[in-house]
């Protein structure tokens, strides 16, 4: 019954080995294509045989993803992918489980499951394709759409205060939290790789362009002219520096706020905020997650990466401990437990 531990396959796998025979049905130029391509690059590098992967998704454009990866896959129901994946992981902890979800899927209908998967630290990767819109249902605003956003259901602009997915994940005490952008190919590959290697719930938000219903929502973070001023890359142990000429930095000011400063003059690199993804307390990661465009450059990269026992590990340990203490379950003994008597 037991499944072999991941072993390096004889023939190293390649990106094309992970392509399924299904026709990809996203709109042309949808950001989802790039995420799929980077995923297919990362998977063969992990040294895990194809059959040990399981992709689970909810409902939405993004959630079609499992059909396009040639591994085990389960296209679930709207919002419930983390719960479905929990069931997969409980039944077989040796599978590497990836959850693919959208902003509506994860944060609206599935908010509850999203929180609980994260707080339990189940060993799964949750990749949230954030396009700030409901794509599949043709363009209603979502829980991440900014205030004032016009959409099919908000012709006068949204009056619904948005959630910041990373803040939610950090609030739920996620052990791995990262962000990247669909078209930032190298960075996205790096982030997916880091997520794949994390033990526990790895949460990755990917800014994804829905060019049909919310075109250019993240252009500030992707366009050449604006990006260097509107995002800042996080690197472990390094100061937060950004700008076309790396002339600006992020500093922690009094009152535990962040502020943007000009480098040069009085302010040195050493005065800046140094990134520590391993910080025991999540407060720094949370602070970073609050940096929103246009007031701040938005951090990209790994916000947080810490160790905590995973739920599935603990479950397995309890089962082992019970077996060690009580012995293998004895059917005869169980049936005959409690008071018994004979009738002749």
């Amino acid at each position: 019954m037991s499944v072999d531990l991941p072993t390096v396959p004889v023939q190293p796998l390649q990106s094309k080995d992970f392509a399924s025979d299904q026709e990809v049905r996203w709109c042309p130029r949808c950001g989802d294509y790039s995420i799929l391509a980077q995923m297919k690059k990362v998977l063969p590098t992990l040294g895990i045989p194809k059959e040990k992967f399981c992709f689970v998704s909810g409902i939405g454009c993004s959630s079609r993803f499992p059909y396009y990866v040639n591994t085990y896959g389960l296209h679930g129901i709207h919002g419930r992918a983390p719960a479905i994946a929990t069931g997969v992981k409980l039944a077989n902890p040796e599978l590497q489980v990836w959850v693919i979800t959208g902003d509506g899927d994860a944060l609206s209908i599935g908010g509850n499951h999203f929180l609980h998967a994260i707080r339990r630290n189940i060993d799964m990767k949750i990749i949230l394709f954030n396009n700030q819109i409901y794509g599949l249902t043709k363009g209603q605003y979502s829980p991440t759409s900014p205030l004032g956003q016009k959409s099919k259901s908000t012709p006068y602009g949204s009056v619904d205060h948005p959630l910041t997915p990373l803040s939610v994940a950090i609030g739920a005490e996620a052990t791995f939290v990262a962000r990247s952008v669909d078209v930032d190919i190298k960075h996205l590959t790096m982030v997916l790789e880091r997520a794949a290697h994390h033990k526990g719930t790895a949460f990755v938000e990917v800014y994804q362009d829905c060019n049909v219903f919310n075109n250019g929502a993240f252009s500030y973070a992707t366009e050449k002219e604006t990006r260097s001023d509107s995002i800042v890359y996080l690197e472990q142990g390094k100061p937060l520096i950004f700008g076309k000429n790396r002339e600006k930095g992020v500093r922690v000011a009094e009152g535990n706020r962040v502020e943007i400063v000009q480098l040069g003059g009085d302010i040195k690199e050493d005065d800046l905020l140094f990134h520590d993804e391993k910080a025991p307390e999540p407060s720094l990661a949370f602070l970073l997650s609050r940096m929103r465009y246009p007031e701040f450059p938005e951090p990209m990269g790994v916000f947080r990466d810490v160790d905590r026992t995973t739920y599935d590990e603990s479950v397995t340990r309890q089962v082992d401990a019970a077996r060690a203490k009580l012995g293998e379950g004895d059917v005869e003994k169980l049936l005959n437990s409690g008071d018994t008597w004979f009738v002749n």
């Binding site: 019954m1 389960l74 499951h113 077996r323 009738v343």
Partner: protein, 625 residues
């Protein structure tokens, strides 16, 4: 009820011991009075002695309702007999009422001439006020004349009994239930040993509490023995049950044990995902202690997650199961649909309770049958199987998994609050006799070109079950309509029609792989009574009594609710009239009328209470004419 007086030897303090066949006792008091505990003890003592026993615990939804209030009354009824019985009895022979509220809410069920034991000290001003009595009912001579009344100063006698142990008054009063139990033990000639053993084990870490409870029990027995108020006591000889080794079991216990045993014997893991809800929670509690049998339990964040997790565990190749009650089953609907569409095996346990909405959480009802039948979007038939009593849950839950794995589909298992909490003696099966679940996972590609075809069906129309981790069988499935054989997404009209028909045919075809319906009584005649689920005992008893009285009546108790047994249509047409008593507004009746065009009539009760035998006898007699 026949009685025989035995000669009273001197050691009985001159008291007569009479033989009885069947006795119904009800303990009632505050929800904090320990009534469930003493009821359970009396059940154990009677079962161990060899009587057949049935129980009906009936408690309020409030955990600690205000003391003495009418809605805080908790009751435990048991029936024990020298022959096999199927119900906890109708009218009560002996009622123990610990306070005025308990008396007020239960006295109606006490037989004329029955024994009433009350803790008279609680019938004080405040107790009477809380029970909304204007005058002390114990002073109501017309009322009291109907019964054999024993006003016992239980509080004082019990405090005296435990004096010197250093207990607080409150601590002393906590043992009062055992005083009452002791008195009933004397009255019904019960051996206190199993209860004494229980007390010693339960409070092993608190020797003073052990001593106090033992003394209370003894004091109660001695009170019966020595006071003049009691002149007779009764003996119910052991029943002639089928030979074997017995234990007592409740429905929820039987479900949990059935699952643990199945996990162990099949070598598979049972993954239970659930969210607490009355009256299903005990299944989660019990299973969480069975880890060493290969059981994993997951307390999910809600019922949606629990059901979704089941789909995930089933996809991963293990035995997935969830348990809930009506409100939770509603939440599971969408994910159950995913389970049916992905054609994965899993079992959904619905321990029905009074509805709709939050309804009557601790009371029983059979009103989720149509929810189980139709409570999902689209054409989504699922097999449904219903347990008929506590012990029956053990094999029925395993039968549910046989169907689920053989036909690759979710199966709904219906229990109810009455079955879940009710206890009965259960003949312990031999391990060799237990069924073995035979699960097969496909291990190699089944397509002509070496590809895996997840929706290529076998002769039972079941699709293969591939376990993730198996090389070469990587595949993707989901809730979108699938193409036959390949399982690829396909919305084309002909395919949808074909897949809808196939899914329905697969479930309908299960009728060929379940036993035929049996009938108790003549194969044809005037009246057929059709029942299902937890009403089995009451209906069977009522029909047998009607038969004994010369009525032309037979009984069919249905276990397989969907698909119905293949011979049921013929059976229904072999009788002039069909009567369907149900604890709902006529749900099985609707299905029977629909499927067989039979003019079935109903007898329907929605009081949150099981049927009484006498009530059914009257209905049958009237119906029979």
């Amino acid at each position: 009820m026949s009685t025989a007086t035995l000669d009273a030897p001197a050691s009985t303090n001159g008291k007569k011991l009479e033989n009885l066949e069947t006795v119904v006792i009800r303990f009632c008091g505050d929800s904090g009075d320990g009534m469930q505990s003493v009821g359970t003890q009396m059940t154990n003592a009677s079962a161990i002695f060899g009587n057949d026993v049935r129980t009906f615990p009936d408690f309020p939804a409030e955990i600690r309702a205000p003391a003495g209030s009418l809605f805080g009354v908790s009751g435990y009824q048991l029936c024990f007999s020298n022959h096999d019985i199927f119900t906890p009895g109708d009218a009560v022979d002996t009622l123990v009422a610990m306070n005025p509220a308990a008396l007020k809410t239960n006295i109606e069920d006490l037989k004329r001439g029955g024994t009433l034991i009350v803790n008279e000290e609680e019938f004080n001003k405040s107790g009477l006020q809380k029970a909304l009595y204007d005058a002390n009912p114990l002073d109501n001579e017309t009322l009291m004349a109907k019964f054999r009344v024993h006003k016992v100063p239980m509080t004082r006698l019990n405090r005296d009994a435990v004096e010197g142990l250093g207990l607080s008054l409150k601590g002393a009063d906590m043992c009062r239930n055992f005083f009452a139990l002791g008195l009933v033990y004397w009255l019904y000639d019960r051996d206190p040993k199993p209860t004494e053993d229980f007390i010693r084990a339960k409070f092993a870490k608190k020797p003073d509490v052990v001593e106090a409870n033992l003394r209370s029990l003894r004091a109660g027995m001695n009170y019966g023995f020595s006071t003049e108020s009691f002149t007779v006591h009764y003996h119910v000889p052991p029943a002639k049950l089928p030979a074997g080794k017995y234990r007592k079991i409740t429905g929820n216990e039987a479900v949990a044990m059935g699952l643990a045993v199945m996990a162990k014997l099949s070598g598979k893991t049972v993954v239970f995902s659930g969210y607490p809800i009355t009256p299903a929670s005990d299944i989660l509690h019990d299973l969480s202690a069975f880890k060493h049998f290969g059981v994993k339990t997951f307390q999910a964040e809600d019922e949606i997650a629990a059901m979704a997790a089941c789909v995930g565990s089933a996809f991963a190749g293990e035995l997935a199961v969830t348990a809930s009650s009506g409100p939770g089953i509603c939440l599971k609907g969408e994910a159950m649909g995913l389970g049916m569409m992905t054609e994965l095996p899993m079992v959904i346990i619905d321990v029905q309770r009074g509805g709709p909405s939050t309804g009557l959480p601790t009371k029983t009802e059979q009103s989720d049958l149509l929810l189980a039948m139709y409570g999902r979007n689209g054409e989504s038939p699922l097999p449904i199987i219903a347990a008929s009593g506590p012990g029956d849950c053990f094999s029925t839950i395993q039968e549910a998994f046989r169907i689920a794995t053989e036909f690759m589909c979710p199966v709904i298992f219906l229990s109810d609050g009455y079955i879940a909490n009710g206890a009965e003696p259960w003949r312990i099966p031999k391990v060799e006799e237990l069924p073995r679940l035979n699960v097969e996972h496909i291990t190699a590609a089944n397509g002509q070109n070496g590809e895996y075809l997840p929706y290529k069906r076998n002769e039972k129309l079941a699709r293969p079950w591939a376990k993730p981790g198996t090389k070469g069988l990587e595949h993707r499935i989901g809730g979108l309509e699938k193409k036959d054989v390949t399982g690829n997404i396909d919305y084309s009209p002909k395919n949808h029609q074909h897949m809808t028909n196939t899914r329905a045919a697969k479930i309908a075809n299960i009728a060929s792989f379940i036993p035929e319906q049996k009938v108790d009584g003549p194969a044809s005649g005037k009246v057929l009574v059709v029942s299902w689920g937890g009403t089995f005992g009451a209906v069977r008893t009522a029909v047998q009594k009607a038969q004994a009285a010369g009525k032309s009546v037979a009984h069919a108790h249905v276990k397989y609710m969907n698909p119905l047994p293949r011979n049921l249509g013929t059976i229904l047409k072999s009788y002039e009239k069909v009567l369907v008593p149900e604890l709902n507004c006529g749900q099985l009746r609707l299905l029977l009328r629909n499927q067989y065009l039979v003019d079935a009539q109903g007898y329907n009760k929605i009081e949150g209470k099981p049927f009484l035998v006498n009530e059914l006898i009257n209905v049958i007699n009237e119906f029979h004419g």
